[in-house]
């Protein structure tokens, strides 16, 4: 049984289709507010999926990620660089702290901290040994592999310094590299969980960013 037919309102104004849309510029996130976050997690299946899902779900953007074991069995350490996008910066830590598998989470962006990144560099030496070998020496890294065709070097350092060293390789046509996300810790902050001190400080080259 059909009901009363709903019709267009009498005399409804038919404006141009966009007349009701005010020009509205897309707001820009205010400045560069990337957060450096240090976490301890229960090392269970799927825990990284929960972390990355939380970041995506809340409209944040994950810039880098480094994860690995800690001295505490079953506890993983994780360093993230997260852009909070349009959300207040403290939402990054607040939302991550809600995950059940998170043992501790700290925003160390504004805390004196040390950061450390590693990279593996592969360079094709064929026909360019005269250029490549000095460049490898300047990298001041550890040669992990060398044969007649190519060399593989491990280099490490604070993220900005390492980026500069890697950029110097860009003119070499046969150079390729991959970087880990930076690990970070705030030496001045109390350890938040017994037995989970941050990873051992790498070297005296390390410096705060």
């Amino acid at each position: 049984m059909p009901g009363p037919v709903v019709t267009l309102a009498e005399g409804a104004a038919h404006e141009a289709p966009h007349a009701h849309l005010a020009p509205r510029p897309i707001p820009e996130p205010t400045g560069r507010r990337v957060r450096v976050v240090s976490m301890r997690l229960e090392d269970r299946s799927g825990v990284m999926q929960r972390v990355t899902n939380c970041i995506q779900r809340r409209g944040f953007r994950l810039e880098t990620c480094a994860v690995g074991p800690t001295p505490e069995p079953g506890i993983a350490g994780l360093t993230l660089r997260v852009d909070p996008g349009y959300q207040p910066p403290d939402q990054v830590v607040k939302q991550l702290a809600k995950l059940i598998d998170v043992v501790s989470v700290e925003d160390i962006t504004d805390t004196p901290r040390v950061e450390w990144t590693t990279a593996l560099v592969t360079i094709d030496r064929r026909g360019a040994e005269a250029i490549v070998d000095p460049a490898v020496a300047r990298l001041d890294g550890q040669i992990l592999h060398r044969d007649a065709d190519r060399v593989v070097v491990a280099v490490a350092g604070p993220p900005a310094e390492l980026a500069t060293r890697l950029e110097a390789l860009r003119p070499l046509p046969g150079a390729d590299w991959v970087c880990s996300g930076p690990l970070a810790c705030a030496p001045g902050q109390p350890v938040t969980m017994a037995g989970t001190a941050a990873s051992a400080p790498p070297t005296t080259q390390q410096r705060g960013q």
Binding site: G3, V5, V6, P17, Q49, K94, I100, V103
Partner: protein
């Protein structure tokens, strides 16, 4: 011959090895549910949860067989909202599990404790795209507080214990337990002890005394204080403390949609609903207040509307929420207190001496008189008139569940209840189709109370298959359909905010709900005049089973006041054609 006890059968050299008389995973699960006080489960069987169904008859659990898994999730939600206990739903793997998702999101957004149990393909088949396999853990991450996939049947009792703890501790929410079929069938000799996750067992922090002192000082000094309250007050069962604090401060109280009922609607300090479709008096009071206390609420966009128009004259804002992430997320209160709403209200009450504020009270009363609820009287049946007939018949203990859309807003803004926990609706997700299955869940929780479902024809047909469940399970919910033959709220938005182009909102082809009800052996009536509404409702109430009263209302009826999109609370628009 009587079966030998397990201890006699167990091999002496390996006491942990299971024998045929040991319980299987499915039995451990069901026993754990019983141990946690579960009496009712809403579910649907399928290939991957059949071991659970095989042993279900052996346990003192009432199983409500739904007709779609979304209905099971909504019923568990409604059960939990109405009872304060954890709602439990059960589905099979694949499509069954995925069909739960909308219902789980609805519960989780509204902080409702629900434990969802899903069957999964056998452990060795996970990842092979096996028949009816779905990644329900991945699919539900955003709509659950936590989830578990169990690979060792010995963990089952401990996981169930932790799931109930997580679902109910701090800010309540949804926990999902995914159980592969082989785990359900595995025999277990020695279940493991409790699993300890540091976060899972962390108690919510008590409100910080220093911040409470600060909040009390702000409220004591205010000349024009306003309190806004949300569902957190109901969860904390702090309605009395809220009323006492409001009376001590002589502060008017508005509520969020989910907070409807936490403050008596007939109390002289009641402001009604705040926000997008809030009352004129409430939105004016929030706009003009010099101190705003928000307690047990999220301050979402439906409450605040344009942020810079939300309490612009407030010199201080105090925000109390048990979830720290809700503080400073949208509104930047200068006093942010993490904690249980009840503890915070009690602590504030202890710090504040009664102080009458007659000038402020008079000003608020002036707004009430200037902005009363208005709707057209054009000879057509108005939804508020039909609701008045329903509420006239409502007993104090009755439960009303509203759907989503205009019917929800009419039902909320017309609400006359004075007791908490009797008006339920989907606030955060705004899930059309929620009300009817949620009402069935509420009825299952309270068999002796009357449960009304207020819905529109658009939302009702989204889950109307559950009428079979209502009949089957003996859940005599009375359904009031406010039928405007269209997607009314969408139509109003198109009229007001989208250039007046009515696009895809005509629902003239909805079924004859009287015949629909009768097809299931239920009572059905269709009315078009106000004088028919009361008798139809009386007949529905006299019918022992489920009943549908299909009320054809003015198809052009809208919700007012309303804050135009992008505007502030003070810019609310009232009914243009009252008479």
């Amino acid at each position: 011959m009587a079966a030998l006890p397990a201890a006699a059968l167990r091999e002496a050299d390996d006491p942990t090895r299971a024998v045929a008389t040991d319980p299987c995973g499915a039995e451990l699960l069901l026993q754990a549910l019983v141990d946690h006080g579960v009496t009712t489960i809403f579910g649907f069987p399928g290939g991957a949860n059949l071991p659970i169904y095989q042993f279900l008859p052996n346990f003192p659990l009432r199983h409500v067989l739904v007709r779609h898994e979304q209905g099971a999730a909504h019923m568990a939600d409604g059960y939990a909202r109405a009872s304060g206990r954890v709602g439990v739903c059960l589905a099979t793997s694949g499509p069954g599990a995925l069909n739960l998702i909308t219902g789980l999101a609805t519960a989780h957004y509204d902080s409702v404790p629900v434990v969802a149990i899903t069957g999964q393909v056998a452990t060795h088949q996970i990842g092979t795209d096996a028949f009816q396999e779905s990644d329900v853990i991945g699919s539900s991450l955003s709509v659950t507080k936590h989830s578990y996939q169990i690979h060792d049947a010995r963990e089952l009792p401990a996981v169930v214990a932790e799931a109930f703890h997580v679902a109910t501790t701090g800010r309540p929410g949804v926990v999902l337990i995914d159980i592969p079929k082989d785990v359900q069938q595995a025999l277990v000799a020695n279940p493991l002890g409790a699993i300890t996750r540091a976060r899972a067992h962390q108690a919510p922090p008590p409100p910080e005394p220093g911040l409470l002192d600060q909040a009390a000082a702000h409220l004591a000094a205010a000349e024009r204080p306003v309190i806004l309250a949300g569902r957190g007050v109901a969860i904390a069962q702090a309605e009395d403390a809220l009323r006492q604090l409001a009376e001590a401060l002589d502060a008017p109280v508005g509520t969020t949609l989910l907070g409807t009922g936490v403050f008596p609607s007939t109390h002289p300090l009641a402001l009604g609903l705040v926000g997008f479709m809030g009352t004129g008096a409430c939105n004016r009071a929030v706009t003009d207040c010099d101190c705003l206390l928000m307690v047990g609420m999220r301050a979402d966009d439906r409450v605040t509307c344009r942020i810079d128009g939300f309490a612009p004259r407030a010199q201080h804002m105090v925000h109390v929420n048990i979830d720290p992430a809700e503080l400073g997320k949208t509104v930047q209160a200068d006093c942010q207190i993490v904690g249980d709403a009840g503890l915070a209200l009690d602590a504030l009450l202890a710090r504040l001496a009664p102080r009458p504020r007659p000038a402020w009270r008079a000003q608020v009363q002036g707004w009430r008189e200037r902005h009363p609820p208005r709707y057209p009287r054009n000879g057509r049946l108005q939804p508020q008139e039909a609701l008045a007939e329903l509420y006239l018949r409502r007993r104090p203990e009755d439960i009303t569940v509203a759907d989503v859309g205009l019917n929800q807003m009419w039902a909320a803004t017309s609400w006359t209840g004075d007791a908490p926990g009797q008006f339920l609706n989907s606030g955060g997700q705004g899930t059309m189709g929620f009300a009817f299955p949620a009402a069935l869940g509420a009825q299952a929780a309270h068999p002796r109370r009357r449960v009304f479902c207020v819905t529109g024809e658009g939302g009702f047909v989204m889950t109307a298959q559950e009428l079979a469940t209502a009949v089957d399970a003996g859940l005599p919910v009375k359904v009031l359909i406010l039928n405007n033959h269209s997607l009314g709220m969408v139509r109003q938005f198109q009229d007001d905010f989208y250039g007046g182009v009515r696009s895809q909102v005509d629902l003239a082809a909805t079924p004859d709900f009287t015949l629909f009800a009768k097809a299931y052996g239920c009572f059905g009536a269709q009315v078009e005049r106000l004088d028919q509404v009361g008798p139809a409702l009386d007949a529905a109430l006299a019918h022992p089973g489920p009943a549908i009263v299909d009320v054809w209302i003015d198809p052009e009826a809208n919700i007012y006041p309303i804050v135009p999109l992008g505007k502030g609370l003070a810019d609310f628009v009232e009914c243009p054609d009252p008479s």
